[in-house]
């Protein structure tokens, strides 16, 4: 399988995603510079974390104008897999590929810590190896992760099956106490209705090796790999 990791000026988790996909999971990975207008034939695009354009103006607000984003949109509309992580989430919101917006964290501070997230859908390419209700322990690291849903609210998103991950207790209880940043409905990750574009604030690439505190992040990448392999088998 071939993955593409987009590099915007100010991306800083690009190396990490590349490392986990290539060195840990043995996949083909290419960096894609933000000014390129080809996605190099990849099967899945990752928009990594960081501070694209310094997060100046608003996180993700400038990156969406990068030439590569037009190609990412085309790719997504044709069913290609797109995963936005942290700043990548913010960019997907700004570019309209996913609904909603981000506010600054409730406490107005940057927050870097492990959190628990409960899996809400196990039928997407990004979570197919997980089980609904499974709790993953994955770190977050952001200043703007206080998700605000579009018109229709959290209920509307739920109805359309767009809620992917929620902040929870270690046992999977979704309550305000376990909400680190004020995000509506404890939302930590969402996807589009078709399920091929997803975004999450937690960083799966930060917990995908045995030397890390958990390896729960592997599940996200392995789901994508399993999905792509399945698709390939079906096609052939």
């Amino acid at each position: 399988m071939k993955f593409g990791v987009v590099v915007f000026p100010g991306s800083n988790c690009d190396h990490d995603c590349h490392y986990v996909l290539s060195e840990v999971l043995g996949q083909d990975v290419e960096y894609i510079w933000h000014q390129e207008d080809s996605l190099k034939g990849v099967d899945c695009i990752i928009l990594p974390g960081g501070f694209s354009y310094g997060d100046y103006l608003r996180a993700g607000a400038i990156a969406r104008f990068s030439p590569v984003m037009a190609k990412v949109k085309e790719f997504a509309n044709s069913g290609g897999l797109v995963l936005g992580i942290c700043n990548g989430f913010q960019i997907l919101l700004e570019s309209g590929l996913l609904p909603g917006a981000m506010l600054r964290n409730r406490n107005l501070q940057f927050i870097c810590q492990y959190v628990n997230v409960v899996v809400e859908r196990d039928d997407t390419p990004f979570t197919m190896l997980a089980e609904k209700g499974q709790v993953l322990r994955i770190p977050i690291a952001h200043m703007e992760g206080n998700y605000v849903p579009p018109e229709g609210g959290v209920g509307g998103l739920e109805n359309r099956g767009c809620v992917l991950l929620r902040y929870s207790s270690p046992e999977g209880d979704v309550s305000p106490e376990w909400n680190p940043n004020g995000s509506a409905g404890n939302i930590a990750g969402i996807c589009n209705e078709r399920g091929n574009v997803a975004a999450m604030m937690p960083h799966p690439e930060r917990c995908a090796e045995s030397i890390m505190k958990t390896q729960d992040g592997r599940l996200i990448f392995q789901s994508v790999i399993a999905y792509l392999e399945e698709r390939k088998t079906k096609a052939s």
């Binding site: 000026p9 100010g10 800083n12 988790c13 190396h15 990490d16 490392y19 986990v20 060195e23 974390g49 960081g50 501070f51 354009y53 310094g54 997060d55 100046y56 409730r106 406490n107 501070q109 940057f110 927050i111 870097c112 810590q113 770190p139 690291a141 200043m143 207790s169 106490e177 376990w178 680190p180 960083h203 690439e205 930060r206 090796e209 030397i211 890390m212 505190k213």
Partner: protein, 749 residues
């Protein structure tokens, strides 16, 4: 060259004395221009010239077989293995952080990062040593909040994790907070870059941000005492742009992959002046630049302003003739300015022109090596070293009797210096680059080096109370503790960098403190085989004539030969035996108990036996290598009781311990809270006891088994007291204290 009259007032306003001005006249053989006066002023400032400290610093040990680059370059370098090297340095940004905490601290991080990637290395880990006045004073909370926000903003944006640090408190830092920023990077041994202008005729290229009027005379400001009106100096604090620095970092590392660049220097303190003169002097050449070519973001800047600007995120580099277009194209790709502004010359001069007019012409050596140098008078202040202070125990909700060891332990575990710094480090991205194997909160941070099976262990330490009571012993202790922390993780301490924060060196007592601290640090570094590879000196940490306690902060780098050997501080398994390595004698002088609970700082600090300390570190590495221990934690502030509490609190399962100290013939308070040095609490499988005891004997380190890991309560029996505290209670006190003091939201965990 002509211009403004150089009056006595003007000379004095530039921080130059009569003798120094006379020296300038002798060097130039004429009166300086205003631009030249400004250049001399910054280059001969304490901050840039080390004129009060140079002679003493020369006594420090700087060599070892693994040291590739000692002091004198942008950062020190040691070997990691046959291919890779570690580049690291620590620098202070105290004065700017007092005036404008967020930008002051942020640009401190930006500056140290540039020092590292200027050498060709990719920065992979930061840490910060911070000191503030007590947090019952709202201004100190404002400073802490701003400093932490600044470090987080800059470090997080550029994507270099802040993995460790220390924060401590004393009223002496009320008007003089300390912000010491450390960074470490990795580089291939054959790809190290230096600050030198070589090859006559080669192009001198300016890259990075445009030059503005910010930070003019920052270096001179850092060489003065503060007074009430220091807030007026706000405009001399630079403003950071971490996004531009991220671009600069990536562009520099891309350019370095080719053989185009011959030398590079970042524009930190004294900006273009310092970088151009240092490169000329180190290269044994000269540099000629034309200020009309310098990218500027403000109109009408004078040569004086352009030369002295401390605008951030700028570099000066010398490239091989003919490669300038390639160099420039890489910077353009990253959206940065890159302009040839001059040439390397052969006449040893720093020549500054505006078009065809020469506005400054100074021998480069006179600015870098032949600067004034003072052996300032020293005076031992004698035995007057004591402070008695009325203490409010402001951080405690529950008042009690401090002679009750249970209450005392609760008070110490929640003291801001001991309590969890989670509220601070959760604001730092401490995981980006996915190398942080041991997360913040342990004795040392452990960062793996990708592509090898090794890791580095980092710690920064200094106990200002010890240094105040005895700067020689205090500095020795700072090195020993930093090394011990690193060794507890299983890594061998290899080298240090430092930030020597002191008061006004023109006061003989301060100069004596400095000399004593340098001597203590030198002795410790020699015995522990951790040479000094660089660092900085920050004098004039005084406001309204009141100086700080001597604070020689040590940044220690250790190498963990195999990532699998890593040891952390928390108890791991029920039934493990608990033992203390080293001797417990109940030394209370300078202890946190005496200071924070009784308001008394007097007596001598706990002495350090350096030979024994060295053997202890080797023992710890052996124990880790042979996988004999489950945990190791250094005993420091708050003594054995705090150390044992931390072993429980840091336990993944919040395990408790049954501890029997009734055979030790000491009063309970000194037994539990004395701060004897050279001690480490370890836990291990009972089956490993004999092997461990053998190793201890071989290294001549006493081991005393004091109990076992058990249950969820920390229970300590002394001759006349019994303590019994649920680990959950201890953890709650320890974890929430700083959050509460800072009025920060406490996250669920």
């Amino acid at each position: 060259m002509q211009g403004q009259d150089i009056t006595k007032e003007l000379i004095r306003d530039h921080g130059l004395n009569e003798e120094e001005y006379q020296k300038i006249l002798n060097i130039l053989g004429r009166e300086p221009t205003l631009t030249e006066l400004g250049i001399f002023s910054v280059m001969w400032s304490e901050h840039c010239s080390y004129k009060s400290s140079r002679t003493l610093l020369a006594t420090l040990p700087t060599k070892a077989p693994w040291v590739i680059q000692g002091p004198g370059e942008n950062a020190g370098v040691i070997a990691l293995d046959d291919t890779w090297a570690l580049v690291f340095k620590m620098e202070s940004h105290n004065h700017p952080s007092y005036i404008e905490p967020k930008q002051g601290a942020a640009t401190g991080v930006g500056g140290i990062l540039r020092d590292i990637f200027t050498m060709g290395a990719r920065p992979i880990a930061s840490m910060d040593s911070l000191r503030f006045g007590d947090l019952d004073n709202p201004h100190n909370r404002y400073l802490l909040d701003g400093v932490v926000e600044g470090i987080a903003w800059y470090g997080n944006c550029i994507g270099v994790p802040t993995v460790a640090g220390e924060v401590s408190f004393n009223p002496c830092y009320d008007g003089n907070p300390l912000v010491n920023a450390f960074n470490l990077g990795v580089v291939k041994k054959d790809k190290i870059f230096k600050a030198q202008a070589t090859g006559i005729g080669n192009p001198v290229i300016y890259v990075g941000s445009k030059t503005g009027r910010d930070g003019i005379h920052g270096a001179t400001m850092a060489s003065e005492e503060f007074s009430e009106d220091s807030q007026e100096k706000r405009p001399t604090v630079q403003v950071g742009d971490p996004f531009t620095e991220k671009l600069l970092l990536e562009a520099c590392l891309e350019v370095f992959q080719h053989d185009w660049v011959l030398g590079i220097q970042d524009m930190g303190a004294a900006g273009l002046t310092c970088s151009s003169s240092e490169m000329a002097a180190h290269g044994g050449t000269g540099v000629e630049i034309d200020l009309e070519l310098v990218p500027q973001r403000e109109e009408g800047m004078t040569p004086y302003e352009i030369m002295l600007s401390e605008s951030q995120e700028r570099m000066l580099l010398v490239a091989r003739k003919g490669t300038e277009d390639k160099v420039i194209s890489v910077f353009k790709k990253w959206g940065l300015d890159a302009v040839v502004i001059g040439r390397v010359s052969g006449d040893g001069m720093l020549r500054v022109k505006v078009g065809s007019e020469t506005v400054a012409e100074i021998p480069a050596q006179a600015l870098t090596d032949d600067t004034p140098c003072y052996m300032r008078p020293q005076k031992d202040p004698g035995k007057r070293r004591r402070i008695r202070d009325n203490h409010s125990l402001f951080w405690l909700k529950e008042k009690g009797d401090i002679s009750d060891p249970t209450y005392a332990l609760k008070a110490l575990i929640s003291h801001p210096t001991v309590a969890s710094k989670e509220g601070i480090w959760r604001q730092y991205d401490h995981m980006v680059r996915i190398n942080t194997v041991v997360l913040p909160g342990s004795d040392a941070a452990v960062v793996r080096i990708k592509g090898t099976n090794k890791a580095v262990a980092l710690s920064c330490d200094c106990n200002p109370h010890y240094c105040f009571l005895n700067p020689y012993e205090g500095a020795k202790q700072a090195v020993a503790e930093a090394a011990r922390n690193v060794a507890c993780s299983g890594a061998m301490p290899k080298a240090i960098t430092n930030c020597l924060n002191f008061g006004n060196p023109e006061k003989p007592e301060v100069m004596w403190e400095f000399a004593q601290a340098v001597k203590g640090m030198g002795d410790a570094c020699r015995t522990l085989e951790t040479p000094v590879t660089g660092g900085n000196v920050s004098f004039y940490n005084e406001t309204n004539g009141k100086g700080i306690m001597p604070t020689p902060t040590i940044g220690m780098v250790g190498i963990l030969e195999n990532l699998e050997w890593v040891v952390t501080q928390g108890f791991k398994t029920e039934g493990d035996l608990v033992a203390v390595l080293g001797e417990t004698k109940g030394h209370m002088g300078g202890s946190l108990y005496n200071w924070s609970l009784q308001g008394v700082l007097e007596g001598g600090p706990p002495p350090v036996d350096l030979e024994k300390e060295h053997r202890l570190h080797q023992l710890l590495v052996e124990l880790a290598k042979n996988k004999l221990i489950s945990s190791a934690h250094d005993t420091s502030e708050g003594g054995l009781a705090v150390c044992l509490s931390e072993c429980c609190i840091s336990s993944p399962d919040l395990l408790g311990a049954e501890i029997m100290l009734d055979e030790i013939e000491l009063e309970t308070i000194p037994l539990l809270f004395g701060e004897d040095q050279g001690r480490v609490v370890i836990s291990y499988l009972p089956a490993n006891h004999d092997d461990i005891a053998d190793l201890c004997e071989r290294h001549q380190i006493p081991i005393n088994t004091i109990g076992e890991v058990s249950g969820s309560t920390l229970s300590i029996q002394t001759r006349d007291h019994h303590l019994n505290l649920p680990v959950a209670t201890l953890r709650e006190l320890w974890r929430t204290s700083l959050f509460n003091l800072m009025h920060w939201e406490i996250p669920a965990e």
